[in-house]
C-alpha cells in the first residue's frame, strides 16, 4: 500500500461545497464496503459545527487534527484557495495531501509544493482524480466500480483515460495495487519519479502501468529510475505543437515533450510502449510471464 490504507483517517477540505459533499458520500460508501475508516473530518472556514453525511466539520485543519487521527486529506476548495489549503494541511502535519482542484495558478502550486516538501508532506495533484487502492482506501473521485485488487500499480497524468485503462485491466483479470492520478498541470507534487519510488517499496506492487501524455519529460525520467517492470502508454501522438490539449501541462513547447520522442526514449530504455489503451493488458501479462 502506498500513501494510505484502511486505517488511514481522511480529512476533506471544502467539505460543505457541492463537490466536497458529493465525494465524501462516495468515499465513505467505499470505506464501508472495504471496512476502512474513510473520511473522518471535514474543514470549511466558518462552517465549523456542521455535519456532512454524518462527518463533523471544523473551521481549521488544526482543530480537526486535535479531535481525530488523520493521515491524509482530499482538497475540493476553489482554485484561489487551494494552495493555502495545501499549506495549512502541510503545516498541521498531514502526510498525504490530495488536491483535486483544477486551474490553480502554477506559481501558487510551486510555492505550496515547496512548503509541503519542507514540512515533509507529499502532495498528489493538483488537477487530479486522486488515488485508489482497491479493497483498502479511496482518496479522491475515481469511480471505484471499475477497480479490482491485484499487483499492478498504475500512475497517470489523466482522469478518464486512467479509468479506461483500469477498466481494460480489470476486464482482463489483472488487478491493481494502487492507482494514482498525479494530475495534468505543469507543476505537480508527486511526479512519476516520486510515485515509482513508493511502488518500489510496496511489496504488493509487481509491475507498473505508466500513462503519460505530451509535455515535459517526467515519464522518461521516472522509467529510468526504477527496476520495476513497466508498460507505458503516451497520449498525444496527434497533438499539434504549441497547443494546450485540455490539460495545462499537455503542451509540446519549443519542440520538446512531443509523444514520438517520449516513446522513442522510453523504448530505448527497454520500456514497452502500447500504441493504444486496449493493448495494455496483454503487454502487462507478458511482463509477468517474462516472454
Amino acid at each position: 500500500m502506498i500513501y494510505g490504507d484502511k486505517k488511514t483517517g481522511i480529512l476533506v477540505q471544502g467539505a460543505t461545497g457541492k463537490q466536497g459533499e458529493f465525494h465524501i458520500g462516495l468515499m465513505n460508501a467505499y470505506a464501508r464496503e472495504v471496512g476502512g475508516r474513510g473520511v473522518v473530518a471535514g474543514v470549511t472556514p466558518g462552517k465549523g459545527g456542521q455535519q456532512v453525511h454524518g462527518v463533523p466539520v471544523y473551521n481549521t485543519v488544526r482543530e480537526a487534527m486535535s479531535e481525530h487521527d488523520i493521515g491524509a486529506s482530499v482538497i475540493f476548495v476553489p482554485a484561489g484557495a487551494a494552495a493555502d489549503a495545501i499549506m495549512e494541511e502541510a503545516h498541521a502535519g498531514i502526510e498525504t495531501i490530495v488536491c483535486i482542484t483544477e486551474h490553480i495558478p502554477v506559481h501558487d502550486t510551486m510555492k505550496a509544493v515547496a512548503y509541503a516538501r519542507m514540512q515533509g508532506s507529499s502532495v498528489i495533484g493538483p488537477n487530479c482524480p486522486g488515488l485508489l487502492s482497491p479493497g483498502e482506501v479511496k482518496m479522491g473521485i475515481m469511480p471505484s466500480g471499475l477497480f479490482s485488487r491485484g499487483n499492478v500499480g498504475v500512475i497517470s497524468r489523466s482522469g478518464t483515460l486512467t479509468y479506461e485503462v483500469v477498466d481494460e485491466l480489470t476486464r482482463a483479470g489483472i488487478g491493481q495495487s494502487t492507482v494514482v492520478g498525479i494530475g495534468g498541470d505543469p507543476v505537480i507534487g508527486q511526479t512519476f519519479v516520486d510515485v515509482l519510488k513508493q511502488f518500489e517499496n510496496d511489496p504488493q506492487t509487481k509491475a507498473v502501468v505508466l500513462i503519460g501524455e505530451v509535455g515535459g519529460n517526467l515519464e522518461e525520467e521516472g522509467a529510468k529510475c526504477t527496476d520495476l517492470p513497466i508498460v507505458a502508454y503516451i497520449a498525444g501522438i496527434s497533438a499539434p505543437p504549441d497547443k494546450r490539449m485540455g490539460h495545462a501541462g499537455a503542451i509540446v513547447e519549443g519542440g520538446e515533450g512531443d509523444a514520438r520522442s517520449k516513446i522513442a526514449r522510453l523504448k530505448k530504455n527497454g520500456v514497452p510502449v502500447a500504441s493504444r489503451p486496449s493493448e495494455i493488458p496483454d503487454m502487462v501479462r507478458k511482463l509477468f510471464c517474462g516472454c
Binding site: 462516495l26 482554485a79 486551474h103 490553480i104 495558478p105 502554477v106 506559481h107 510551486m110 510555492k111 509544493v113 515547496a114 473521485i141 475515481m142 469511480p143 466500480g145 497517470s156 497524468r157 489523466s158 482522469g159 478518464t160 483515460l161 486512467t162 479509468y163 479506461e164 477498466d167 495534468g184 505543469p186 507543476v187 505537480i188 507534487g189 511526479t191 519519479v193 500513462i211 501524455e213 505530451v214 509535455g215 515535459g216 519529460n217 517526467l218 525520467e221 497520449a235 498525444g236 501522438i237 496527434s238 497533438a239 499539434p240 497547443k243 494546450r244 490539449m245 485540455g246 490539460h247 495545462a248 499537455a250 519549443g254 519542440g255 509523444a259 500504441s275 493504444r276 489503451p277 486496449s278
Partner: protein, 361 residues
C-alpha cells in the same frame, strides 16, 4: 498567454530593466512624430503572434530618412499568414556583446529554473546542442522573493556586473507576473549600458484574471464559442469530429483515429458531469467545422449520466453521422434513447473509432 513584444517590454521596464527607446504605431503616418526620439538608426518590428518573425521578414532595418517608407512596406506585408496591424519602432542599438537570459518553470524540480549564457544572440537551441556547457543553470526556490547573491554570481560568471541586478529584476517579473516563461534574448551591452533588445513573457492562463491582462489572442468564431461553454478545444484538419471527456481520453481518441488510418477534425474535451445542454452545444460546435463528415463521441466516467448525454446528442439534431461510446451511470437508458433514434452506440473506443474511419473512407 504570450505577451506581444511591446507588452513584455513595458512590463520589464516597470521593473527597471532598460529597454531601447521605442514606440508602438498602428499606421506609418504615426511614425514621423517619434523620429527625433528614435535617433538615426531605427528597427521596425511587426507585432504578430508567431515565432521566427525575423526570418519571415517581420523585422526591417531603416534610418531616419527611410523609416516611414519602410514602415509602409511592413504594414502591407503578411507574416506567416498574419496581417501586420502594429509595429514597434525602436532605436537601433550599437551592440557590443549579446547574452541570453531565461527563467522557466522546471517540471522536474517543481521550482523556477534560470538559464544564462554569455553566448547569446545565436539560436539558443543550437548552443544547447553544440556547447551545452556554455549554458549555466540555477534552480531557485519560489519561497524567496529575490535570488541570493551567490546564485546571481554563479549565473553571471564573467559577464559585466550590471547583468546581476537585471537577472534578479527579471526573476521578480517571473514571480510577480505569474510567468511561465520570462526571457530576454538578446540581453545586450552597449556603450550606453545594458539593454533588453528583445523580451518574451508567457503569462499563466490561470492567473490572467488576477494579473489584469486582457487576452490578446485572435480567436476564431468556433474557438470563441468553445471558450463560452468552457470546452477545451483545438482545431485540426481531418474529417472525424471528436468529443470526449477528460483531456487524456480525448487525446487518446485522436491518436486512435490516426492509428486506424483516419484524421481527426478537432479536440474537444467537454469536461466532467456533462449535462444534455452542454453535450448539445459540443455536438453542434463540432458539426459546424466544414471538414467534419462523422462525429465520434467517447464519454466515460462515474459522474457522467449516459441518458443526459444521449438527450444532448439527439437535441443537437445535426446532419452528420454520430457514433457513440458511452460508459457510466444510466448506461442502458442512454443506449435505449440513442438506438430508438437510429444512432449507433458501440461498447469500446476501438470500435467507435474503427467505424468512424470506415465511414470517411
Amino acid at each position: 498567454m504570450k505577451l506581444r513584444e511591446h507588452e513584455a517590454k513595458n512590463v520589464i521596464k516597470e521593473y527597471g530593466i532598460p529597454v531601447p527607446a521605442g514606440f508602438l504605431i498602428r499606421t506609418a503616418a504615426e511614425l514621423p512624430a517619434h523620429l527625433d526620439a528614435l535617433g538615426d538608426k531605427i528597427v521596425l518590428k511587426a507585432q504578430v503572434d508567431v515565432g521566427g518573425r525575423g526570418k519571415a521578414g517581420g523585422i526591417l532595418m531603416a534610418d531616419k530618412t527611410t523609416a516611414v517608407k519602410t514602415a509602409e512596406e511592413l504594414f502591407r506585408k503578411e507574416i506567416k499568414g498574419l496581417p501586420v496591424k502594429e509595429i514597434l519602432a525602436e532605436q537601433r542599438l550599437d551592440i557590443q556583446h549579446e547574452y541570453y537570459l531565461s527563467i522557466t518553470v522546471d517540471r522536474s524540480s517543481k521550482q523556477p529554473l534560470i538559464l544564462f549564457t554569455e553566448e547569446g544572440g545565436v539560436d539558443i537551441e543550437i548552443t544547447a546542442k553544440e556547447n551545452p556547457g556554455a549554458i549555466r543553470r540555477v534552480i531557485a526556490t519560489p519561497l524567496m522573493r529575490d535570488l541570493p547573491p551567490f546564485m546571481l554570481r554563479e549565473l553571471a560568471g564573467k559577464a559585466p556586473k550590471e547583468i546581476m541586478p537585471i537577472i534578479n529584476k527579471l526573476y521578480r517579473v517571473f514571480l510577480e507576473k505569474d510567468a511561465l516563461l520570462a526571457e530576454i534574448n538578446p540581453l545586450v551591452t552597449t556603450l550606453q549600458g545594458v539593454f533588453a533588445a528583445d523580451a518574451k513573457i508567457i503569462v499563466d492562463d490561470n492567473a490572467l484574471g488576477r494579473q489584469g491582462f486582457t487576452v490578446n489572442r485572435d480567436l476564431t468564431d468556433r474557438e470563441r464559442e468553445a471558450e463560452k461553454h468552457g470546452f477545451s478545444y483545438v482545431e485540426l484538419n481531418g474529417a472525424i469530429g471528436v468529443i470526449g471527456n477528460g483531456a487524456g481520453l480525448t487525446m487518446s481518441t485522436l491518436d486512435l483515429i490516426e492509428f486506424y488510418g483516419g484524421k481527426a477534425a478537432n479536440f474537444l474535451d467537454v469536461g466532467g458531469g456533462a449535462e444534455s445542454e452542454r453535450v448539445m452545444h459540443a455536438v453542434r460546435l463540432v458539426a459546424s467545422v466544414p471538414t467534419v463528415k462523422v462525429i465520434v463521441v467517447n464519454l466515460l466516467g462515474g459522474i457522467t449520466k449516459c441518458d443526459e448525454v444521449a438527450k444532448g446528442i439527439i437535441a443537437a439534431g445535426i446532419s452528420q453521422k454520430v457514433i457513440v461510446r458511452l460508459a457510466g451511470t444510466n448506461e442502458a437508458e442512454g443506449r435505449r434513447l440513442l438506438t430508438e433514434k437510429g444512432y449507433e452506440m458501440l461498447p469500446t473506443m476501438d470500435l467507435v473509432v474503427k467505424k468512424a474511419v470506415e465511414v470517411t473512407k
